[in-house]
Symmetry: C2
Subunit: 148 residues, 2 copies
DNA sequence: ATATATTACTACCTTTTTGTAGTATTTATT
DNA sequence: AATAAATACTACAAAAAGGTAGTAATATAT
């Protein structure tokens, strides 16, 4: 359930890349934009490539691009991939996974609290974020025209 | 956002104690019931006492009882107390806290996904858990009568 | 060809979290 | 008073997470 800073970084990176329109994103560029430690960022980027989210190009002018369509990457998938399988359906009392036939005391409460969240994360793709971001930009531009 | 095993342990302990009817819970008893490492459990119990959830009694026949009414302890409070202030309202991209006037790309999505969860956790007290647990017991007993 | 700008790999260091050990203190029982 | 059963305190050890360093490999530009 989003235990890692690494997952946060991954979401930052993918979210950032999804909402901009560069042809290619180098680690150095992302480092400068996002303030994620250089070396750690690099490693994470290769990880994200290995996990099939990004595609890397070595050598000069190299960098990272998305390996799949933005519509195919939802936030829950990113979290699950980075934190190991099924972290989004773990028991709140630390049992590795919620067991339906032997639920813990918190099970009902936790299921209810958690499921809505997981649903929204699963239904939000990077493409959706891009859409929202662009709408925001348009709004800001219009505000600028109206106020100045 | 429930990053710690320690928080899980705390919920396990408090949830367990809330749903039973012992006069007093010793660390040793809780250790045996809950399988939380002995020494770590002890420390956590004194922590929970310092935080005002429990009240400890030293010496022989000593142990822990609740320091407050179960109705006054909700799950969000436990999580916040154990993980430091306001972990339940952190930004999903790792900014220390969600800032309304400078939201991140994920803000809207995350707020929506998170708020429902926090709401439920805040509205569930240990007293509610006790109620649910007792209802479960009653149901199981009735089932037993019907099926056997 | 060489220099340069990039990713890839491996090993290590640091910090945080989790877990353990030893000893002191408290209190009921005998 | 002695014993036993409990918590309290402090320091340390182990494991996991986060972060760094050095070097190799790759590919473009000149
Ligand atoms: S079994 Fe614990 S939350 Fe489901
Ligand atoms: S600012 Fe990031 S989730 Fe609110």
């Amino acid at each position: 359930m989003i235990r890692n800073k690494t997952t946060e970084y991954a979401l930052t990176i993918l979210g950032f890349m999804a909402t901009r329109n560069e042809d290619m994103y180098s680690a150095e560029y992302l480092h400068k934009q996002l303030n994620i430690p250089r070396r750690y960022l690099r490693r994470l980027l290769t990880d994200l490539s290995k996990h099939g989210f990004l595609k890397s190009t070595s050598g000069r002018n190299g960098g990272f691009v998305f390996a799949r369509d933005l519509k195919e990457i939802n936030l829950a998938l990113v979290i699950n991939t980075l934190e190991g399988y099924e972290t989004l359906c773990t028991c709140i009392l630390g049992f590795s996974c919620c067991i339906v036939d032997k639920p813990c005391i918190m099970h009902d409460t936790w299921m209810e609290a958690r499921s809505k969240m997981v649903e929204i994360l699963s239904n939000t793709t990077l493409a959706d974020l891009k859409g929202k971001y662009q709408m925001d930009l348009i709004k800001k531009t219009l505000d600028g025209i109206n106020t100045v």
